[in-house]
Amino acid sequence: MRSISTGLITETVKNAFLRANYDIGADITECLEKSRREEISPLGRDILGDILLNDEIARTERIAACQDTGMAVVFAYIGQDARIEGGDFNEAVEEGVRQAYSEGYLRKSVVSDPLFDRRNTGDNTPAVIYTEIVPGDRIRFDVTAKGFGSENMSAVRMLTPAAGVEGVLDFIEETVSKAGPNPCPPLVVGVCVGGTMDKAAVLAKKATMRPVGTHNSDPRYAGLEDEALKRINKLGIGPGGFGGSTTALAVNIDFFPTHIAGLPVAVNICCHVARHASAEI
């Protein structure tokens, strides 16, 4: 057994959220630069230039790239041979979120009751925490600060098996088309095909966190990613939604076994400020 203190967990989660909010990944930056060279709309090219400049300011000045610093989502992979010492694991994660958002000048965007009070909790907690038990004695955290301009444009649909590949592609395209300029294109589109309704949604969220430019290791799904991206970038929505050939930077598709009667598809939309970070203890 390897001991891991809750203090270290808090510190690790805190630093991951600070990095996620200040440092837009090199994968996104490279893709934005490439898109700016290839974008057909002059206004679209200018908007991509503004986005690149914005991300540079955030990185160098250590300020939030977007004012919507999101709801904190944490995927924790806990090694079965690790022993957590010094307190409650979930509370240690929440404390990391609390410290990042208060000390890092990040916006607190969480309300305690979604329907009646809608009172801001004041510290951006609770986070959405998923834990998985994995082999080994380490703990890995994948965190994302998920903005809601794009989250609101996401969708799950329970297709029938007969809908097939075309049904999946149509649903992805329809979701992005309906969203139009609202979710701050260019987008990173996370998709999961299969599982149950909830499993598809969770894996779609994880898919938004996969670096752009990587592909599903299954060549059939990698081909689906390319085809979906091609169709989305023909919609004309473009950077900022004012028209153009860069509506999405990537479509990341994951899949999971499903029931004989089902073909669930979840499409989680993420904006160009795709904020995620990983850390291992």
Binding site: I40, S41, P42, L43, G44, R45, D46, I47, D50, I51, L53, N54, D55, I57, A58, E61, I63, A64, A65, C66, Q67, D68, T69, Y105, L106, R107, K108, S109, R118, N120, G122, G149, N152, G180, P181, N182, P183, C184, N233, K234, L235, G236, I237, G238, G240, G241, F242, G243, G244, S245, C271, H272, V273
Partner: protein, 190 residues
């Protein structure tokens, strides 16, 4: 920027608002008020009760933003636009009360566009997600109402050369629709 941007002092005259065209790229300077979901709900409740708003809304522009906290040495934290459609339910009420401009991002519904036409109002878009960049054009920020709402409080902002695009003009022309249609057609023929 590849295109010349016109400068506009806000608030401006009714004629100046009416002269703006969808697709115009502007650098705006002057005074803005911030409000988003929760503040809109309260402002409309005041109007429904026949009470005075916390600021004189006539001729003014509201920026849909909930800024990040202000770091030391800055006038304001990162402050990009939030998605405007969530304010569609409230916007016609405020436009009827004299509001002349809104800054946000994303589509507006037909009711808002009809109300804009009736009232000679403009909907501007700022680049979503470019919040650190936009904050540089905000030179001061002061909470003037609903401090309890935190980031959703109503603020009075002074801005200098804030870059915006006229998304919907007072005649109802929509730059989002036009831009998308033009590019969709161009991409289809490639």
């Amino acid at each position: 920027m590849s295109e010349e941007r016109k400068r506009l002092q806000i608030p401006c005259s009714e004629e100046e608002y009416r002269s703006l065209r969808a697709g115009d790229r502007l650098l705006i300077s002057g005074t803005l008020y911030t409000a988003r979901d929760a503040a809109h709900k309260r402002l409309c409740a005041l109007l429904d009760e026949g009470r005075e708003l916390p600021f004189d809304i006539r001729g003014q522009v509201i920026y849909y933003v909930g800024p990040a906290p202000t770091p030391p040495g800055y006038a304001i934290g990162s402050a990009g636009p939030t998605t405007s459609y969530r304010m569609d339910k409230y916007a016609p009420r405020l436009l009827d009360a004299g509001l002349k401009g809104m800054i946000g991002k994303g589509l507006r519904n037909d009711e808002v566009k009809a109300s804009m036409k009736k009232n000679g109002a403009v909907y501007f878009a700022a680049t979503g997600g470019a919040a650190a960049l936009i904050a540089r054009s905000i030179i001061s920020s002061e909470v003037i109402a609903y401090e309890d709402l935190g980031t959703e409080a109503v603020r009075k902002l002074e801005v200098r050369d804030m870059p915006v695009i006229v998304a919907v003009d007072p005649d109802g022309n929509d730059a989002y629709e036009a831009g998308r249609e033009e590019c969709r057609a161009a991409l289809a023929s490639l």
